[in-house]
């Protein structure tokens, strides 16, 4: 009973603790990212069972793209940037995405082999 409620309580508590941590330590890492790190540690350390947050997490992550829409609509405030700087913007994204993909792909292939030759065992 109340799995989603419990999950939401845990998720927002983790974010709140992240905000506290950010203020106390004075580190420039966003509170939600610290909350993500805190929850990851709690899950890996076995402090919180994943079942407690799975329902709420699924509800949020299934609708993640919807949550971005108001942020994206905010570009109406910055139309000028797109008109004047579309070339450096698109070039930067193209170049950087290609470099990252190939660099990471090649490194994993050469140093870690890959799933095809020695398949990773299931849980």
């Amino acid at each position: 009973m109340f799995e989603v409620l419990r999950g939401f309580a845990i998720l927002s508590l983790a974010q709140l603790l992240g905000e506290v941590l950010r203020r106390v330590l004075g580190i420039p890492i966003p509170g939600n990212v610290l909350g993500f790190g805190l929850l990851a540690v709690a899950l890996f350390a076995g402090i919180i069972d994943v079942e407690n947050v799975a329902g709420a997490a699924k509800l949020l992550l299934d609708h993640l793209t919807l949550l971005f829409a108001p942020v994206i609509v905010g570009i109406v405030l910055y139309k000028e940037f797109f008109r004047t700087q579309w070339l450096p913007m698109t070039s930067a994204i193209l170049v950087s995405t290609a470099i990252t993909l190939v660099l990471v792909g090649k490194l994993v292939d050469s140093y870690l082999g890959g799933g095809s030759r020695h398949e990773i065992p299931r849980r």
Binding site: F8, L11, A14, Q15, P28, I29, P30, N32, V33, G35, F36, L39, A40, F44, V50, V53, A54, A56, A57, L60, L61, L67, A69, P70, V71, I72, V73, G74, I75, V76, L77, Y78, F81, Q85, P88, M89, S91, A92, I93, L94, V95, S96, T97, I99, T100, L101, V102, L103, V104, G105, K106, L107, V108, D109, L112, G113, G114, S116, I120, R123
Partner: protein, 232 residues
Amino acid sequence: MKSLAANPLFGFTLTVGCFYLAALLYSKFRSPLANPLLVSSIIIILVLEQTGIDYHDYNQGGQILTFFLGPATVALAVPLYNNRRFLRGRLLPLLLIISLGAFAAMASAALTAHFLGADRQVVLSLIPKSVTTPIAVEVAAMIGGIPELAGVFVIITGLLGALWGPRLLRWCKVKSPLAMGVAIGTAAHGIGTARALEEGELPGGASGLAMGIAGLVTPALAAVFLRLFRGN
């Protein structure tokens, strides 16, 4: 009319309604170009421009949705945990490679834009473009970029990685499912991960894991950048 548009109910209804219609459309066409976020954002922008409703009025309702990006970011720890088997015995090398990839993504985007003459604010907004939107938006705000621009760059990067990532990797003779997954997750976050899942469970899981690690590493790297640039 003006007061009604400033009621949070207006922006909320417009956003959820348009997104629902765009999701219906996507379920019919399944093309990455019919991406519901892309389509619904364009419809909302057109509605605002045609009616002359101010973005700040619209955002009274919009920010209710934006608020939930916080707990949603925290919730990313769940898929990270569920994919933990990919970490077994290779935690350190994977951490190193993903960190290196995250650094390369940030540096190459910033340098390319800088040398092609982009404004400082645009360069800073491009830096976190390879991580998932809720994290990128926060990082952009932190280092002096524009969160809305960063959000758009993240979406474009994700679509690009999803559309061309697997093809580019095969062309470069990167064939192992693990390598493909980790590369796509590091470079193209959640949209890429959705694509990697279509290649199989192994690349999908590896991609989700890489996306989570890149999401943790990127704000830390950005913080270091910030220190360095403030230093001189």
